[in-house]
């Protein structure tokens, strides 16, 4: 059963931030993929904050949140970024296969460096 955990628009100071802030988003036993997407275009977001950068990551817990296993991460810089194929980059994505298990939880983590930056996004498991 696919599910989406929304990361509401929020401004993050430098440091490590988890979504949900505590606990995790439930993963159905049949789910096998997690995708974290962060919108760079929100007010105060990465596109307008060249002094910031972030690392976005997905974690998984197989023990009800007692411990968390890093699965994958992606990083990007602040400011307007363009490439010849996509044009302006307006979102960042990290996706990874979930490890098998039952009663699993997932969470997103955003590690901000430089200056504070606003984020909004989704963590989807399917």
């Amino acid at each position: 059963m696919a599910g989406t955990f929304n990361i509401p628009q929020t401004t993050l100071p430098p440091g490590v931030h988890n979504f949900p802030a505590s606990g995790g988003a439930a993963i159905a036993d049949s789910d096998s993929l997690a995708v974290l997407t962060i919108d760079r275009t929100v007010p105060g977001g990465l596109n307008v904050t060249p002094g910031a950068s972030y690392e976005i990551a997905v974690y998984q817990s197989n023990d009800a949140g007692a411990s968390w296993q890093f699965l994958a991460s992606a990083g990007d810089a602040g400011g307007i970024i363009t490439n010849p194929r996509l044009g302006q980059v307006n979102s960042n994505v990290i996706g990874v296969s979930l490890w098998p298990g039952t009663g699993r939880l997932a969470r997103a983590q955003v590690t901000v460096t430089g200056t504070a930056v606003a984020v909004a996004g989704t963590l989807t498991v399917s």
Partner: protein, 848 residues
């Protein structure tokens, strides 16, 4: 003993690109017991089109899943590996694949390795990507490879790693660049990955390279199984269940882990090409006006055509660049709705899409042509031109997707607008370049590899581009192209040969007269007019005719009669002997399909014009082509079958754009008949009351009234008069009447009534026969199968043995001569009674 880096291939770490039909790069391996790892990207699609990688001839199984770039495609990445049994010294890493496009990668060999661990994968849209490899053991190594969408950035490797290869090729897809690296395993979960100074799509695969398990012997070919002890191995999702989804389910390959038990060798057989075995339009059979289209097995096919003009160059425009998804959605949906031909252009022009980029570029700026070494637009006509691979890779994919779905492609190589619009691709084309272009296309698309692809020319022209078309076709021929289907569209109210209003040849000596192999009728008048006139044209070499273009679904605007109009367009053509038919989702009510605008995919299944395309036309074609001998129907232009009550025939406008005639009050009765009387199809857009000559049908024929919308059948009492009244299920007065031979006699009747009036065969003479192997003597001695001439004993014997015999006969001076007797007696020929159209005409008779 620990695992250690041995060598990278190609030496120097520059990676390799293999872009033709397969290729190699070298790797220097130091010992037979080593392990070798490779990464290899695909340029397009969401599934892996690499079918095999070998080192020194030994297979390197795929490790884990193919990862689409950012999980949405435009290519992706996969890794491969083999432990032990390796050739030593300099050997080739050989890569084979099904799509001729860029494949980028490299290889690394390791000493002291005994197995590969469980692969890990991730995808991203960012400037860096990492993935965790859990449960590593100190002393092992980790190897990883990734694809990336942008070229020209600065590569990096995550902490503790060594960049082993990097290769920048292009930003033409989400994966035309590659990077590979290794890390010493530190024990426990370890993060590995890559960085780039640019931000784009990634596909990342990583795997632990393990020392041999104590007490085991490394055996060649058991790489994954050996390493799987204690942990399940995640093998590629496409091992078994994803073959059917190839090209249609972008997310699937990364989502379906398959658990393989320890001790079982990795399953690496490539998924068979999707759509294998699908029938598609492949050629023509028969001659002249009696010819018909066939599939690759020779069975008759009625091409159902849609002109989704802009699909190739606007695919991906509305979904973030996933052009493969758009193409697959179009082909699979239309195939499910009964379509068998896509017609359109590869490149953009300002007629098809007024917002198009100049020079024929795709929506995202990829030029079709490389001009003097740089992708761009022809400006002088004297430049050297080649094909721009990233552009044509999309066309490759379209052709392959079409074939997988049983759809043929009529690719237009030059609309009139391509030449006359200053921003467009051929505005400055020279005839020399036209010839060169033909040769380039021939080289890229050999018929053997693209048997469902055919060339088309023109549209809304009146001969001004014929010289260029001729040069392109000459170039194609010079390149070895011998495709049997070529045609052209001129102005409305013409076919390839004549203008419908006068019947005169439209362009004397024009491209259509000289080169077309089937006749493309283009009309905004009632379709029966153009079809009938294609049968009766004079001063030409008659060809099988299709209703190729004109009124599309919804073209009449918002009058609420879309279904009625398109139904008449369709049945007027079918009942007049059209061998093919265009039904295109029209633009007048906002249809996005033809220009491939933002709602195109949704409108494939939710058509704003109504349900005709999504729910009816496929059923109509299925029904029509279920009628025995449908492909032999000839319009009853002389009122031979329908002798009274024919109604009023419309008149053709002159060539050009006239006010369309949607025919709301048109009461002409269209009728066509197979010459042996085995089938007749009659249709009128209004109620009809007709008289027929029953002697033109086989004895015992049946009559059925068909609802042209729902296809509901109502048996009628055969007789000389037929009257329809009341409305069909769509609320309109149009009905179809089908007269056909009873099933038991359909294949052998035809002489009961019709032949009494047929002229006696006269001066028939055998000009040549074609007989299957073993029947050569029969062929050489067979006389004409005409009345009064006995079949030779050996031919009769062959017939009685049910061997297939095809006999070609050329008639003498008497047109209309009819073969009445085969070697098995009257009615023994499959199609006796076929009256030949003209002196010197040829025909074939087949004996099953």
């Amino acid at each position: 003993m620990a695992v250690a880096f041995d060598a990278v291939g190609p030496a120097g770490g520059g990676g390799a690109t293999i872009a033709t039909s397969g290729g190699t790069f070298t790797h220097v391996n130091s010992a037979a017991g080593n392990a070798i790892f490779a990464g290899m990207t695909c340029f397009s699609g969401t599934t892996n089109n690499v079918t095999a990688i070998t080192y020194g001839g030994a297979a390197m199984p795929q490790l884990g899943a193919f990862v689409p770039a950012n999980n949405v495609g435009t290519g992706g990445n996969a890794i491969y590996g083999k432990v032990a049994g390796l050739a030593t010294g300099t050997n080739n890493v050989a890569v084979t694949f099904t799509i001729s496009e860029d494949h980028n990668g490299g290889s690394v060999s390791f000493t002291g390795a005994g197995s590969f661990g469980t692969p890990a994968t991730a995808f991203a849209s960012a400037a860096s990507v990492t993935v965790s490899v859990p449960g590593t053991t100190a002393g092992n190594m980790i190897a990883a490879a990734a694809s990336f969408g942008s070229n020209g950035g600065t590569w990096g490797v995550s902490s503790g790693g060594t960049l082993r290869w990097k290769r920048d090729v292009s930003a033409g897809s989400g994966s035309d660049n590659t990077v590979g690296g290794t890390w010493a395993a530190a024990g426990g979960t370890q993060s590995v990955g890559f960085t780039n100074s640019l931000s784009d799509y990634w596909a990342l695969n990583a795997v632990e390279v393990k020392v041999p398990v104590a007490g085991t012997t490394v055996t060649a070919g058991l790489a994954t199984a050996a390493g799987a002890a204690g942990a399940p191995a995640i093998l590629k999702g496409a091992v078994a269940g994803l073959a059917a989804a190839a090209g249609t389910a972008p997310a699937a390959t990364a989502k379906v882990p398959v658990v393989m038990l320890p001790g079982v060798a990795a399953a690496t057989a490539a998924a068979p090409p999707a759509g294998t075995g699908k029938k598609y339009l492949a050629g023509l059979a028969g001659t002249g006006i009696n010819a018909y289209f066939t599939d690759q097995g020779g069975a008759p096919v009625l091409p159902l055509i849609e002109q989704a003009w802009a699909l190739p160059f606007n695919a991906g425009r509305w979904n973030g660049g996933n052009w493969q998804s758009d193409i697959d959605a179009y082909m699979s949906t239309r195939a499910s709705q009964g379509y068998t031909v896509w017609a359109g252009v590869a490149w953009g022009n300002d007629h098809v899409d007024s917002t198009v980029l100049s020079g024929g570029r795709t929506w995202d700026g990829i030029y079709p042509i490389v001009v003097n070494g740089t992708p761009g637009k022809i400006t002088t006509g004297s430049e050297t031109i080649t094909l721009n691979n990233p552009f044509w890779t999309r066309v490759d994919y379209l052709f392959a997707s079409a074939k997988n779905n049983g759809i043929a492609c009529f690719l237009n190589l030059g609309m009139q607008y391509d030449f006359t619009g200053a921003p467009n691709i051929w505005y400055n084309l020279s005839t020399t370049q036209a010839n060169t272009f033909g040769q380039l296309i021939a080289a890229r698309y050999p018929q053997a590899s693209y048997p469902n692809v055919f060339w088309f020319f023109g549209d809304d022209g009146s001969g001004g581009q014929d010289t260029y078309f001729t040069q392109m076709l000459s170039g194609l021929a010079a390149g070895g192209d011998t495709r049997p289907l070529v045609s052209t569209e001129q102005l409305p109210e013409t076919n390839c040969h004549v203008q419908f209003d006068t019947g005169a040849v439209y362009i004397t000596g024009g491209f259509g007269m000289a080169k077309a192999t089937y006749n493309w009728a283009y009309t905004y008048d009632p379709t029966y007019l153009g079809i009938e006139k294609s049968y009766t044209e004079t001063g030409t070499t008659p060809l099988p005719v299709v209703y190729g273009d004109g009124i599309w679904y919804g073209d009449e605007g918002t009058t609420g009669t879309h279904n009625y109009v398109i139904r008449r367009v369709t049945w007027w053509a079918l009942a007049s002997g059209a061998r093919g038919l265009n039904n295109t989702c029209g633009p007048s009510t906002g249809g996005d399909v033809w220009q491939w605008q933002s709602n195109a995919v949704a409108q494939l299944t939710t058509d704003p014009n109504g349900p005709w395309i999504t729910g009816h036309i496929g059923n109509v074609i299925t029904y029509f082509t279920s009628l025995a001998n449908w492909y032999k129907l000839i319009p009853d232009t002389g009122n031979v079958l329908v002798t009274a009550g024919r109604g009023t025939k419309s008149t053709n406008d002159a060539p050009g754009f006239n006010t369309p005639k949607y025919g709301d009050t048109d009461n002409y009765v269209c009728a066509s008949r197979v010459s042996d009387g085995s089938l007749a199809v009659i249709y009128c857009g209004q109620s009809m009351s007709i008289t027929i000559d029953q002697t033109k049908m086989v004895a015992g024929y049946t009559a059925t009234r068909i609802d042209p919308y729902s296809l509901a059948a109502t048996a009628l009492t055969p007789g000389s008069t037929y009257v329809t009244s009341g409305n069909n299920s769509a609320g309109n007065p149009d009905w179809v009447i089908i007269l056909k031979a009873p099933a038991a006699t359909a294949a052998s009747a035809g002489l009961a009534a019709g032949t009494a009036a047929a002229p006696a065969p006269s001066a028939a003479a055998v000009s040549g026969t074609t007989v299957l192997p073993g029947l050569a003597s029969a062929a050489a001695s067979a006389p004409a199968p005409a009345a009064g001439i006995a079949a030779p004993a050996d031919l009769a014997a062959a017939y009685s043995d049910a061997l297939l015999v095809t006999l070609s006969v050329t008639l003498g001076p008497k047109a209309g001569t009819t073969v009445v007797t085969g070697p098995g007696g009257a009615g023994s020929w499959v199609n006796p009674g076929n009256a030949l159209a003209d002196d010197g005409a040829t025909a074939t008779w087949a004996v099953p």
